[in-house]
Symmetry: C2
Subunit: 386 residues, 2 copies
């Protein structure tokens, strides 16, 4: 089971660099604006209304400067007499968030113009192409919850570990009110900062709560790379160390230190990519602890998994599976077989067996964070309804 | 008054790059270890037991790679056949935290080996030289408070602004307990992340509380660069926009959303460098709101200031002034006059007038964060004692 999920994630992730719309060769509109993720006062990188990105780097003595975005080959920048290297992607980028870095004279550096985000086991540069539906994760004048850094003791790893906890806007209004909890995992090479920094999980929640679309719940985000494995070694992934941290150490800590409803019906787990693999393995081994399962861009649950898991049908209230349409298209166009089964067929087979299973497809996105922002929103709408 | 403080801060800050011990030419011990601020799995930069730093950067096609640490000229790295550029500082660095960046072929980039910290109005690379007294800000197995990101509405700036709030470990144990509050400001070019990231304010508090040395209090850290001024323009600094945000918007928000003791005797303000200037101006204009004043490496309060401020003697319980010894030495060695008065003389004159005024000198540190970590600890020990 593990190996199959790994192969799917491996293929989907390799595909990130190929996920740009390749049909358009339209004239490039000169309406470029600084990316919203730029450092204060920085004019570059910029994005235009078509999704083209333009980069500008000062390195007067450099021989070559390249950006790892803009198609398979990236974007090669050209130097002007003023020492600045400039270039525009050959094609528009997908809407949403993209990681990238520079290659300056053969060395890997970040773009000094923009903020850094932890991905690929390093702090990477980030750029944001405004999405047509960006309103659902926008910073608005609504009541805001908090993102709290907690440091919790972990005997199994002999360390003090970090988690971020989202508490909803009304958390401190009524000291007797208790809340359900979603444990939300990042992908390979990311860390516990990803879901609030890249994912805007807190703003997605604030907006859904302000619109009255969901009942408030707590989100807990912690570091899931307990194995310190390299990307190609994902299939060696052993869930036990992280399962011990999450189930035996973090959950009791959260239940003791936050006003949670500390039972199975009010506890959910979800994750993206590698985090979906962790979610699948941990929830199937702990159906007495989690009632809602969210699998974003990676693992799916088959009837075989269900049949091997005593109590699944009685205890699990929701299996939510999501992908970006470009992830699925990519697999189909290349005639790739979904290892672990076609997620769409898995979802159908669970539905037929009377299990509440939902498939969400994020329009025109690939194995990137806009898929996961949307997935979190759609998943949140279905949580803790009973 | 403002101009004088600005000139002092300007001189002290320019002096940062000169603050390295210049006497030692001892043999360099080959006991280098990765800096504790390195990104996961990164071997460089390294620091040895004498405080020398060694850097290693991959850039096979580069013409020149320089590091802005290690004396006035920085450290020039030399290239090996494997494409790596390596170099060691000519002198040991001071103990504690240092900002730096690379200059690769004339362009400014961060060291891909280490974490970034916001300073100089950009995310800079950071390196840590272990300090002899590092235990007071170490991450230990003690109860930990939380650092909470809050987003608060600001009508005066027509924006939603961010603050980080430290709540002590017992904050959620007793929903009726209320706490005093310290408003704590960063320096020029830094932001609201500085005091927890570079300053370890939360760990300093956790440790002091665990040792029973202080009564728990809340710390609030927000962005003080409301003017978006450049460094050379500090003397144009107008305190009004930030004073409005802090006093009229943030304090009421904090008092409404956290269990504070919302009165003058239980409210303190402190800041480092530019933040000390803000602290002086805001507290003198609001002695009915703040009873404890902490001025780290910048502003001091003279008897002239006291005499111009009605109610000061009755209402202000503590004026705490601190510097690194190397900051003061630098001024003296160069025969510089302290604009705004010699802080040591100002402290003495306030003491003679019966005002509770304390001068703390951080041993062998300059205008850098180890001075301010120590200053926060010493200041915290004196707060809210009545």
């Amino acid at each position: 089971m593990k190996n199959n999920i790994c192969v799917t994630i491996l293929m989907l992730t390799l595909f990130v660099s190929l996920c740009f719309a390749q049909n358009e060769k339209a004239n490039i509109k000169e309406d470029f604006k600084p990316s919203v993720l730029n450092q204060p006062g920085q004019e570059y990188p910029q994005v235009n209304s078509q999704g083209y990105a333009r980069f500008r780097i000062f390195a007067p003595e450099a021989k070559s400067v390249k950006v790892t975005l803009g198609g398979r080959e990236g974007t090669i920048l050209l130097k002007s007499d003023d020492g600045y290297w400039t270039g525009t992607t050959a094609e528009p980028l997908d809407e949403g968030f993209h990681y990238y870095h520079l290659i300056v004279d053969g060395g890997i550096f970040n773009d000094p113009g923009t903020l850094n985000f932890y991905g690929s086991v390093r702090w990477e540069s980030g750029i944001e192409v405004p999405a047509s539906d960006q309103d659902f994760y926008a910073l608005k004048d609504v009541p805001h919850g908090r993102v709290q850094q907690v440091l919790f003791p972990s005997k199994s790893t002999n360390s003090i570990r970090r988690a971020f906890v989202y508490t909803p806007p009304d958390y401190d209004k009524d000291p007797k009110k208790r809340y359900p909890v979603l444990y939300l995992q990042h992908g390979w090479g990311e860390d516990e900062t990803a879901w609030s920094n890249q994912g805007h999980a807190n703003l997605i929640m604030d907006n859904l709560i302000a619109e009255g679309k969901i009942k408030p719940f707590i989100i807990v985000m912690t570091y899931g790379m307990t194995n310190e494995i390299r990307f190609g070694e994902l299939r060696k992934f052993d869930i036990k160390p992280f399962q011990t941290v999450l189930v035996d150490e973090l959950i009791p800590y959260i239940d003791q230190n936050f006003r949670t409803i500390a039972d199975q019906p009010h506890r959910a787990m979800a994750g993206l990519s590698m985090g979906s693999m962790e979610t699948k393995l941990i929830t199937l081994a702990n159906v007495d602890k989690f009632s809602y399962i969210g699998l974003f861009s990676g693992a799916t649950i088959s009837m075989d998994d269900v049949n091997k898991t005593p109590g699944f049908k009685e205890k699990v209230k929701l299996v939510f599976v999501s992908y970006g349409t470009k992830e699925i298209d990519w697999m189909i166009q290349r005639g790739k077989e979904f290892t672990g089964g076609d997620p769409r067929e898995n979802v159908e087979s669970l539905k037929k067996a009377g299990i509440n299973c939902v498939l969400y497809m994020s329009p025109n996105t690939a194995h990137e964070f806009l898929t996961w922002r949307r997935s979190l929103k759609e998943f949140a709408l279905l949580l803790f309804r009973e």
